[in-house]
Symmetry: C2
Subunit: 383 residues, 2 copies
Amino acid sequence: MRRPATINDVAAAAGVSRQTVTRAMNAMPGISPETRDRVLVAARELSYRPSRFGRGLVKADHRMLGLVLDDLTNPFYPQLASAVTGAAAAAGWNVVLTDMTHAADRETLLADLAHQVDAVIGYVRLDPDIQSRLFAGIPVVEIDPTRRQPLLGAVTFDLRPAMRDLVRHLAGQGVRRPLMVDQVPRPEPVEGPDRPSEVDRVPRPEPVEGPDRPSEVDRVPRPERVEGQRLDRAQPAYVSPGRPSGRAKIFATELDRRGLECDRVIVGTGSTEGDLAAIGAALDAHPEADAVLAYNDLLALGVLGALRDRGRRVPAEVKVVGIDGLSIGELVVPRLSTLALDMAEVGRLATELVLGMRAGEIPLSGPPARRKVRHRLLLRDSA
Amino acid sequence: MRRPATINDVAAAAGVSRQTVTRAMNAMPGISPETRDRVLVAARELSYRPSRFGRGLVKADHRMLGLVLDDLTNPFYPQLASAVTGAAAAAGWNVVLTDMTHAADRETLLADLAHQVDAVIGYVRLDPDIQSRLFAGIPVVEIDPTRRQPLLGAVTFDLRPAMRDLVRHLAGQGVRRPLMVDQVPRPEPVEGPDRPSEVDRVPRPEPVEGPDRPSEVDRVPRPERVEGQRLDRAQPAYVSPGRPSGRAKIFATELDRRGLECDRVIVGTGSTEGDLAAIGAALDAHPEADAVLAYNDLLALGVLGALRDRGRRVPAEVKVVGIDGLSIGELVVPRLSTLALDMAEVGRLATELVLGMRAGEIPLSGPPARRKVRHRLLLRDSA
DNA sequence: CTGAAAGCGCTTACAG
DNA sequence: CTGAAAGCGCTTACAG
């Protein structure tokens, strides 16, 4: 590719000055139609595109928003991305998407991002010192930060009220032996130096290919029930090996207020197949469970399937509840009851907040600005 | 927010020249440690961040990729976004995400994008003249363009081989009366001037709130079975009112090769609830159907649920197949068989293609560069 | 190790 | 209606 044409090339080709080119390209007044056409023709022939750098240097309105997500293939996050791009577009901002799944080095990737954008929203999760150095001079709104104090601003989640509603509902339905299908809490650097992630990513198993089938057909065998795969058997909530997630803790606390206890099993092998096997084993180990709360909706769908495999009726014999509120829960039978979080609202609030900070309407000094979003108990059919 | 600090402010504060500031900020050699520290301290105190425009004007490596998607909340697209951001990041590129869901004016939004990026991937779907004007001088790779000829490059989908495999499989299982649950084909401007979309977006029904429940709890009633909601009753494939989608046409053609016909119903009210009602009505109108191919996996999940509501066993009495290959199909019971498209591969190929074009390795003149991705028949449990 | 000069591509006053 | 001049913030040679 040759050197791209500049405003000087177009001016020379059209036989005019540079600012006449500017006038033509930007549909400004004070230019004769003939001149304008001549310039536009020359621009087209040269494939001229005004440099965003030349323009940016001289115009003041910089509107590039960075969005930091952990994993776009988790169906929970695209709703956030969709809401942020929507709210940003309405304000004339563009969104640079950074998916940390692929980041060998979180800090380097975010340092690069910091050079490209004028504001940041997302799962930043950096050491505070590093964050303030990297993003010096631009507003940052963190989503669901687990560190106590966000640096500048944050949208936080509040699961407890919905959990309280859930426990009241379950108790009212006569539930006595709830089970929590928990996931390993995701470690993250907090109040200290960056450390490498402890999460193992287990690659998905390749689809199995039958020998005597057409080459393009994949026949995927139903996974065998696997025993003891990262599975803790029947332990009271607080002594189960593996730290309980924040979600599990809140569930346990709210159960406790009503004199109920729950067993807890940990699932989260990183592969769908492994998770399903672990869920099956968990249910076999806890045949007395009359309700299951899953760490998220995806796992809850796995629970639904495993219960059906075992001939257990939902919700008559076992109630099943997820967390997240994915719309997919609407499509299965029985439809999944869940503690739903409105990620579209999260995205909208975060965008308003960060753009307000950028515009100077929300102070950057003083206590961090916060917006809180509550989960809601969404009762469909499974509980 | 005050005027951001520039390199001159930092130079003045540190008592050095501008290029010494450059040396310190970019960790370049030829600067004494003391001077560097003094500069960095001044930069931090002033919250100095080098302007990307000043830098961009003088450095040559511009690496901003535009990604155009139709709707991020459709679980099919985030996989593409994830693959593109991953492949782009590996090459040192950032990705600007543009979700057309929110676009009042497709052309304006893309014109803005064209000013911000150095290459474009996605569902561009503009009139060719407009596209070539808007994106003059930058490579564009279109995803699944329906116009015959992409302008510069494209990744296209090929559903036919997998469909052929599917029909062979269904026929082998003794299927005689297949039903296609089709969707209104999405209109798009092709080979002509831009025209407004004909798709009506029906807003989702608000969750119904019971009067005497805690305020945060939503009790969502199961939708009634609705009769005749945008539903075509038992018509042969080609005369059904409403144009068949490309997917339906291929299905019909492949069935025809084996002497089979299918009935076709159209679903696609824009709301999950409406779709579910229409699916139910469709199944009631076609009790003889022994196989259902749905326009996509989401609808196929609806079919699965509706069949269960009616006490029909899958796959024993009715086979069900979707299109897309969403991983969610792995989690339901019975697991959904589907014609799967590897969107991660699509994203990877598109990124390689557009970056190759940008680097001059793939010519921009001459015939458009193409990459083809085939669907694959993925047999799980439902067929 | 440090700085004076030039220039990247554009737009904004200002003059004619 | 059109153009000569200045300047946005940075980096790259080049001198010292």
